[in-house]
Amino acid sequence: MRYEVADTVESAASLLAGEAGQSYVLAGGTDLLVQLRAGLVQPDLVVDVKRIDELRTISEADGGYTVGAAVAGAELGEHASIGNVWPGVVEGAELIGSTQVQGRASMGGNLCNASPAADSVPALIAAGATCTIVGPNGKREAAVADIPTGPGQNSLEKGEVLVSLHFPARPANSSDAYLRMIPRTEMDIAIVGAAVNLTLDDDGTCTAATVVLGAVAPTAIEVPEAGAALVGTKVDDAALEAVSAAASAAARPISDKRGTAEYRTKVVGVMAKRAAKIAYDRAANKGGK
């Protein structure tokens, strides 16, 4: 294995594309190094992208945010304002691993590692975040939802590097939330996860809502029926029950040692309902009502 440090996105893409064998991007390394030690991956080349400024910075412009793909969870959590605007995105990212893992793990890595249970991904999709990707053929944009294609699989071509995640400016009275179910209180992998992003009008009626589930399908999935169940309501009990039913109906989980399919199907409805309530309360308070 060779180890190279890239100074620019273009040089990272060039190094990755030019390697005849297996090449991997090293961001926080909290997945890659574990896989390396376990022999699950056998890279010929690892390219460290943590010295590229664009991958390491959070910037704000016109109400929107751009977060470098290798920004660590702890850095995201310490940012002065993004957690107020996108609390669900930040709480999802901060659920990844321990304090030590938070010092290294990034949303870009979590997305590209493509675990169905990745904690940051449902809220990123619900947020409508987009990715900037640079490869040997130049720059392109893609929706976050289009990056993971299955467990451990992503849509990036050889030589492509995820540079940053973009969050659009938000309408007034908008907020989001992410909840997961684990059998412990910390340090575990989600049995199910649910993210809700919504916008209210000045009367507190929901005008737009996106509901995304994690760990109940090969990738995180958006459930349009669950979002639709919120729109036009004040997120009352009837709407929340409809969200729950739609989420459970959309789930197609596996059974494994962490939970049965039946349990996941039921609990993902509960998590979706609770996340919707939290997002609603956040959006209502922020509007100064």
Partner: protein, 160 residues
Amino acid sequence: MSKIHVTTTVNGDPTEFLCEPQETLLDVLRDELQLTGSKEGCASGDCGACSIELDGRLVCSCLVLGAEADGREIETVESIADGEKLHPVQAQILEHGALQCGFCTPGIIVAAKALLDRNPDPTDTEIRYWLAGNLCRCTGYDKIINAVQDAAADLRGEAS
């Protein structure tokens, strides 16, 4: 494949070493630099026995490549005592008997100090969440939490 030449700072001292590309910083610290305070428990970032600070950020050194340390600043458990004078976190862990086999203790000392550097008056819950990535299979955690609380009080200059 030739080894990688790394220039870094370890516990305040300019340090150079050679490492293999796939070698972890933990292995470099222990095998090249003879800093064996950091332990390998799980080698997968779950147990925290290899905790260090990298540019002031608490990390598992088993999840960092040695080559990544180039130009960075590393603080290990060996830097925490001031000569013979123990840091309050170390002294209170001894006072409380908050260890049995001691394998997790260096990582807990590094992590607890990192917490108290940022938050001088944490709640028990904050300590438990901060230390969730430091596994102890002997004592249970109550003694560790109590030791960290008393170390925090010592650092604030209060009698505990």
